[in-house]
């Protein structure tokens, strides 16, 4: 044993020496993505990026086609595919066709990172669209930052993701805007003063949205009377709802996905908590009314668009085309958002000076007033889409009756 120990000690010493020798390598590799949040200036990507060779413009898509986020991932791929097929059918870009390379992230961050690295370094795509989950977009965006390839996330609302670098964009709104808009609507339009929050501890999306809502609602002058937690996969929420009922709130803010919001809506009637529910775009599902039953009727939530928004022709056209192609309307908001992400990219392709990642990044950043399904998209200096938000009400007939459109504003939390 002592011989073994000495051998191991020697190996350890050798490794330390070796690492001393390699310190330069390590330090070079140590330039992590992710600039300081809130400084306003996003770090410039150090990578060279890829350029289009031949007649095919390769675009990568990362989506969860496996695992628990599959419903969103599948919808996302459908949306992107539809946009790209329409673009190619219309002649492409001066005869050049766009080719999609779709890779699965298996709902796992490290697989998502591997997939992105494959797309960027092996397939040499000029741009990447994806992912939905913030936890997977974060490492994917870091890869894109490292190699200088632009990435557009359709659905990651986590605030600090676009701070990674100047080539990270998104077409959805951030939690910062969504949470603050709902807080504003609840305080000003609904006149609520006391609200309880239910948060999905397992979802970064839910915790992020709840944080902003809590901050914003308190800043407006309201009071958060209680915050209860659950984990995705929980099926019985009555213990938490009983606690909430004891605090007697005006409304219940549920920041989770519809998977849990539905049962919460059903079960809150059982414990006798009869207050309206409020929520974010995680509610969007074609099955919402069926899942949630009567308990959700009268609830308010924010989304990017509404199926009943007759004043915007893009929505109707998109939904009709989607139905025709896939046989049913989009299951979640991820289909239109991914469609929009592809639109932003394709629009940038048309405006770009040369077909390489750097130029495309620049063109995406200059996107202004693009008429997309989820609203008129302008990419702000922080890489986020500046667009209005739609407050919807759940009625007995439809889950998404438009109530109010709130124009884009920047929410600055008051320092405590």
């Amino acid at each position: 044993m002592s011989r073994t120990n000495r051998l191991l000690a020697l190996i350890g010493a050798g490794a330390l020496l070796l690492s001393w020798g390699c310190k330069n390598d390590a330090a070079n590799g140590g330039t992590s993505g992710g600039g300081p949040g809130g400084s306003g200036v996003r770090p410039e990507s150090p990578g060279e990026g890829n350029r289009v060779e031949g007649d095919v413009i390769k675009i990568g898509v990362i989506a969860a086609l496996n695992g628990d986020q599959k419903p969103w991932g599948e919808d996302s791929v459908k949306g992107v595919q539809m946009a790209v097929d329409e673009f190619n059918a219309a002649g492409g870009l001066d005869g050049k066709k766009v080719q999609l390379i779709i890779e699965d992230t298996a709902s796992r961050p490290e697989v998502g990172k591997t997939a992105t690295e494959k797309l960027v370094t092996e397939d040499k795509v000029v741009a990447v669209i994806g992912e939905i989950a913030s936890g997977t977009t974060q490492p994917a965006a870091q890869v894109c930052f490292q190699y200088g390839v632009p990435i557009i996330s359709p659905g990651s609302t986590r605030v600090d993701i676009t701070n990674i670098g100047d080539n990270v964009f998104r077409v959805c709104f951030t939690d910062n805007f969504q949470g603050a808009a709902m807080a504003k609507f609840a305080y000003e339009d609904l006149g609520f003063r006391r609200i309880a929050i239910l948060t999905d501890k397992k979802l970064p999306y839910s915790t992020g949205l709840s944080d902003v809502f809590r901050q914003a609602f308190t800043d407006f002058g309201g009071e958060i009377v209680d915050e209860q937690f659950y984990e995705s996969g929980t099926q019985d929420f009555k213990p938490q709802l009983t606690n909430v009922k004891a605090k007697n709130p005006d409304g219940l803010f549920c920041s989770g996905y519809f998977n849990e919001v539905g049962p919460i809506a059903r079960q809150k009637g059982i414990v006798g908590l009869n207050v309206p529910m409020l929520g974010g775009d995680g509610w969007d599902s074609a099955e919402l009314l069926n899942t949630a039953g009567r308990g959700i009727i009268g609830g308010y939530w924010t989304n990017h668009y509404s199926n009943y928004e007759d004043d915007r022709p893009q929505v109707k056209r998109f939904i009709d085309a989607f139905k025709q192609r896939y046989g049913s309307p989009p299951a979640t908001a991820m289909a239109p958002l991914s469609y929009d992400a592809a639109l932003v990219l394709l629009d940038a392709l048309k405006r770009t000076e040369s077909l390489d990642s750097k130029a495309i990044t620049k063109a995406i950043a200059e996107t202004a007033d693009l008429d997309a399904v989820s609203g008129s998209i302008t990419i702000g200096p922080d890489g986020n889409a500046e667009k209005s938000i739609l407050v919807l009400q759940v009625t007995a007939e439809a889950r998404d009756m438009p109530v109010k459109r709130i124009e884009f504003f920047r929410f600055e939390p008051k320092q405590k």
């Binding site: 209860q228 099926q235 059903r266 069926n290 979640t332």
Partner: protein, 313 residues
């Protein structure tokens, strides 16, 4: 506060009934085969899906009495899951009867992953569907209010069915020929075979019963709680139910029910205690507490609450 406490105790009891119903099947299979059937939670998931598809066949037609529909869903789920359980046992577990325990455990994990990820290709998942509220007849939708405590009738039914099944199973295991054979197999596999018991048949019956119970659980919980169905629907309840079974003394039928109810009560009590600890969000640790209780109980009494000390664990 007293009312709050009673309401939470009732909530816990109802929550525990869910775990108990699934735990019954777990405990039977483990008792006979000494196998953690990881796929049990996934059979439960399949049961919920079968109930959903059955309800979709009739939900829009006013032809059928709602109670009859519920009964039909229950039968379809139980029969479907029983067949699934038999198949799994025949294909995946029986060939491994003499293999090391870890191989069987791994096979169970493999079957579980197969049902979860293979199910993604077969079942409707986008968007996750759920059994409509209207499937429960009108009278079942309103809660039962007793002395200021409200109880969901659907979950009351789950509790009732769990208790009835527990008694029936107990009777079956103690008083019938097959049940005695089952206990003999559970006690000593090889000797039972030497005594002329058809071990394969007994194991098949065990799987049939256990899986039918999982199917019933899937149908009842999906209808009562309205949780949208994904193929991972059975993951968390499956693990919790297994904990419940271990807690009560695995292999012991009343133990599974008691374990499930203790687990449900513990979770409800964690949530109940939350407002009394200001500044600390205790509900975030709700699921961790159940596992802590499990570890604590196992350390103090490794065979579980009702497990016989004779059984070598």
């Amino acid at each position: 506060m007293a009312e709050q406490l009673i309401q939470q105790l009732v909530n816990g009891l109802m929550l525990g009934a869910i775990y108990a119903l699934i735990a019954l099947g777990y405990t039977m299979v483990y008792g006979v085969l000494r196998l953690i059937n990881f796929a049990h939670g996934d059979v439960y998931m399949v049961g919920a899906y079968l109930a959903y598809y059955t309800s979709m066949q009739w939900v829009d037609r006013e032809l059928i009495n709602p109670y009859l529909l519920l009964f039909g869903m229950l039968i379809v789920s139980m029969v479907g899951c029983a067949l699934l359980g038999l198949t799994i046992e025949r294909v995946a577990y029986r060939p491994l009867r003499s293999a090391p325990r870890i191989s069987v455990l791994i096979t169970a994990i493999g079957v579980s992953l197969l049902l979860e990820y293979g199910g993604l290709l077969v079942f409707k998942t986008a968007p996750p569907p759920s059994i409509a509220e209207g499937v429960r007849g009108g009278a079942l939708q309103t809660p039962l209010v007793l002395l200021g405590v409200s109880i969901d009738k659907g979950q009351l039914a789950v509790l009732g069915v769990t208790l009835v099944l527990m008694v029936l199973l107990w009777q079956f295991v103690t008083n019938t020929q097959t049940g005695r054979a089952m206990r003999a197999v559970a006690h000593d596999f090889d000797t039972a075979a030497l005594m002329g018991i058809n071990v394969d048949r007994i194991v098949a019956v065990t799987f049939l019963l256990g899986s039918a119970l999982a199917g019933a659980g899937g149908m009842m919980n999906a209808t009562a709680l309205g949780t949208p169905l994904t193929t991972f629907y059975g993951l968390l309840p499956g693990v919790k139910a297994f904990v419940a079974a271990v807690l009560g003394g695995i292999g012991n039928i009343p133990g599974a029910v008691v374990g499930g109810i203790i687990l449900g009560l513990a979770e409800a009590m964690v949530v109940f205690a939350d407002p009394y600890i200001p500044g600390f969000e205790l509900t975030g640790y709700k699921d961790a507490v159940t596992f802590l209780i499990l570890i604590g109980v196992l350390l103090l009494k490794p065979s579980g609450i009702f497990g016989s000390p004779v059984e070598k664990v």
